[in-house]
């Protein structure tokens, strides 16, 4: 059962996130969610129009948390490679702080519900990445590629590494630093 410090609404969202993370969407019935939140099933409908709305609300909440956690300020006057490494590691760390949330996000993204919700989970950080690319481009230090491709080269391996961590593999700081460097090499002109 979830901590009393949370509001009932928050407890319900957190319960949904954890059940989906552990056992998938099929296991996240209204009965299971209410039970884990420690409230009655009927109570769910006082806070959300239905199960889908609860899931979507939980996803939005998660997205904004990750956004807040991964966009700390950093030194924009540092060398480009260091800027990329900082941002990349910040993303890894933000997701690492809430692995259930990460897993929920992955599953939600592949569910039919995500169509209702709209964009990918990454829009938030795209701004910082675009600035980095533009700055580096002005100096001729990065390739001439569509921004979408830079984004894919940046995020996709991060997500893949985080997924591996869900099944046991733990990446060391040194390995992550090398990975960030490899990604910079993929960007570099």
């Amino acid at each position: 059962m979830l901590a009393d410090a949370l509001s009932t609404k928050e407890k319900l969202m957190r319960a949904a996130v954890e059940i989906v993370a552990e056992d998938g969407f099929a296991a996240a019935t209204t009965a299971a969610i209410a039970a884990r939140a420690g409230v009655a099933e009927g109570t769910l409908y006082r806070h959300f129009a239905g199960k889908d709305e609860l899931m979507i609300a939980a996803y939005r909440q998660l997205k904004s948390d990750i956004f807040a956690a991964s966009t700390d300020t950093y030194d924009e006057s540092a060398p480009f490679e260091a800027r990329l490494a900082h941002l990349w590691r910040a993303v890894i760390d933000a997701y690492r702080r809430d692995r259930a949330g990460f897993r929920f996000g992955q599953r939600f993204g592949e569910s039919a519900l995500s169509a209702k919700e709209g964009g990918a989970a990454h829009e938030a950080m795209t701004g910082a990445l675009t600035r980095l690319r533009d700055d580096a481009r002005a100096r001729g230090e990065v390739k001439d590629l569509p921004m979408e491709l830079f984004i894919a080269l940046f995020y996709a391996p991060a997500i893949a590494l985080l997924k591996r961590e869900l099944s046991g593999r733990e990446w060391t700081d040194a390995e992550l630093a090398k990975a960030a460097q490899a990604i910079w090499h993929s960007w570099r002109a």
Copy 2:
């Protein structure tokens, strides 16, 4: 309704793949699958022990199709960058030939069923990639990284690009060639 050339068993698997691809796992009820396959619901149970087994069988089928399609022979004496580019493009093309299958695979991979099934979808091609890494490593042309990291740098962007194609973006041959080159740069020492 699916073509008569397929066996009933194949029609059921294909129907499941298409429904999951279009509308997600929640929409893939036994009734919906049977209807799309053009058979009665009860018939499903003459071919599969239950819905989960049908889904798992469909996934295994898909995996072996992709394996067959993406491991054509190629010139192992070519330069390393060309070998990587060839393999990378082969993966893209294999998935492009069956987009519904690709989408099903992504969704299946995030479902709770995938735990029963076991490994990731990529094991198949890992052999060719490992050989490439080892050959290039012997000449000092690639970084010193865990194989898992090479795999992530290779596959993750390919999957990300394919996902974008599901929502409309079409990558040109030139863009894909540049992407393959960027990935080689991430591998390169």
